[in-house]
Amino acid sequence: MSSLVPFWFIVIAFFWTGFFILEGFDFGVGMLHSAVGRDDAGRRAAINTIGPLWDGNEVWLIVAGAAMFAAFPGWYATMFSAFNLALVLLLVALIARGLAFEYRGKRDAIRWRRTWDVLLTAGSVLAPLVIGIALGDLLHGLPIDSHQDYTGSFWDLFQPYGVFTGITLVLICALHGATFLALKTTDDMHDRAWQLARRIAPFTCAAVIGFAIWTHVSSGRGTFFLNPIELLAILAAIAALWLVYGDSAGFAFAATTVTIASCIVTIFVDLYPNVMVSTTNSAYNLTAHNTASGGYTLKVMTVVSIILVPVVLAYQSWTYYVFRRRVSRREFSAPSLAKTGAAGTGSG
């Protein structure tokens, strides 16, 4: 039994957490872009706060999935097979979102843009909801037989705890996006983002407290007191609620970042050493050890990751530095859209 198995469990948790920290505010911006930007210029400004970033952020999801495939093939196989239709829904949501970013501005027609706005909003709500349900189900458990195969139906995926996890993640992403927009926009958009953050924060905070306690109970550890990471999630959510009434978008965004990160880490901490719980029989639980790849594969992937992950983090951080400036809706209202679009500069 390779000591790299727990290490790779941590790596998988790291990729999922990174994904939610980064794509979390992309989802939030997608949900709120129409509310924060009242007109087309405002919506474009909202979308352009994440314009250069969202695609790189989404790769964290692909890498999380691919790393599971390489390091824990059994986990990847059972989880992705069980969630087959749910993942189809997730993929449709992500396809709609991705195309909305790129294609929305490519035609100067109101109906075209409104259609993509709706798809962007819907996709941005649906994606964290589905992923949340899936992550929650890992911990709550699903009918899994002795061959590690899922034996339930599509509707068995909708367990109360999983659904609640999904809703919690949607609410956190919404708040995370709102604080991000407050940080990255100016004038009336900035003000509206603050207002939205204040309106969403109480719901997010309540959901996170409920989530932390429910997760603690679901994990079946039998201890009365919450573990430190569950406590951190609650404290961060309360801090976020408090800070959105202050006047520093930076602090508020930091608090929502810690909130979303600690919620994801909570799931993985409470899950270990299991990776998927079986409700059929606890002897059938998928664990990090009974789903892991061979020691050689883990060694190879460890070397590759140790070299590449710091490089990726370096250039993604640099991207955030390059695009650190706030985006103003004035940049988008000046000339007619048709002109810049027709110039073939890919604007819009």
Binding site: V92, S293, G348
Partner: protein, 461 residues
Amino acid sequence: MANVDLARWQFAFVTINHFFFVPVTIGLAFLTALLQTAWYRSGRDEYLRLTRFFGTLLVINVAIGVVTGLVQEFQFGMDWGAYSRLVGNVFGAPLAMEGLAAFFLESTFLGLWLFGWDKLPRRVHLLTIWAVSLGTVLSALFIMAANSWMQHPVGYTMVGGKPQLDDIWALFTNPVFVWGYAKVLLASLVTGGAVMLAVSAWQLRHGKDRDVFARSARLSLIVLVPAILFTMLVGDELGVIEARYQPMKIAAAEAQWTTCQPCSFSLFQIGGGNQDQTPTQIIEIPHLLSLLATNSWNGKVVGLTPLQNQYSAKYGPGYYVPNVFIQYWSMRVMAYGGVLAFLIYAWGLWLIRRKKLATARRFLWVATWAAVLPFAMNTAGWLLTESGRQPWIVQGIMLTKNGISPSLSVTWIAISLAVFILVYAVAATVDLLLMLKYARNPLPPPRSEADADQPVPAVQY
């Protein structure tokens, strides 16, 4: 229809669709980087205008390549769970490397390139498009290493019925990978070049700025002619390698039921798809199949029937012959398409020499429509490769019918297939319409002398 058949249809549908966009991205990213380098070095405005023009087409195409790529990454686990469980510790490794080394690079630097025109120094900005191009090329590298392992498994030992990776380098020195990867890169260059030429040719016939588009037409032809020639040569060598490791694939591509030596290549035939049919061969070229499959004038090609007997003896009873009709005609679409494309592009090169390219209306019309050829050839190439591997999902290790997720019902897979067909049809239509719209737009206007030292405005959504 059984769930395996439906799952295969689904995989084929989403993968063929995905691969319409991938080679355009690989080829066009490289050509756009070339154009921007020309601008950086010469400072001539027309290269900047071309960079922005073709960069827009690149981005429209990348968008759909990225979102259909998500499906690719997930569907191994979704539909092929037993396969993923069995081979994940070999096959998953290059996939994870692809994400870490290629997808991050491509997506992050595409954002920097698009939105960074006015924020980065020119030299750094030029590097971002080259980083995008490198990302696309690396992505193909890792996925081809993974795919080649399914064609010719290497670098593993069987432990308790499961292949265990024990030599990662073997995946990247696998001869099927080395030649297959070279072929994919060249074919991508052909596809990107064909798109650039088609757009330039249309603009030369209908648009303004003819002198500028004459430049991009020349660039694409200079890339295309050697690229298509090398694609065919590499493809030929790949055929020899496949004949060595997957003899069924090549015998089926020739509908060769009995062993022959020397073997002739049939240019066209009717029938012969089933063992009991006698093919009506119309024309055949002596010795050509021997050359193609073995690199020797009198080489022996073992027929499907003896191969079937060999495989039955080795792997137990079963039918190990792939779909001969698909193999035979995929091979011919590639071969004839390649020759036709080569002739068209050589014609263009001859026109450049005669300095008549920009006014040769007949050629320009043909060159616009010739953009269809690489897409047909790419699709045929993958059909030949993947259908020719059947009935195996991993040659010699696992049969396709055993690779499916046991929990996958016919209803589930039918629903997901219907959803994907619907979503892809809409997305591909939107993509095609936008590509056509932006391909017919005029070039961005030239910049005045006074602006030449100002930053170029960024691209925004």
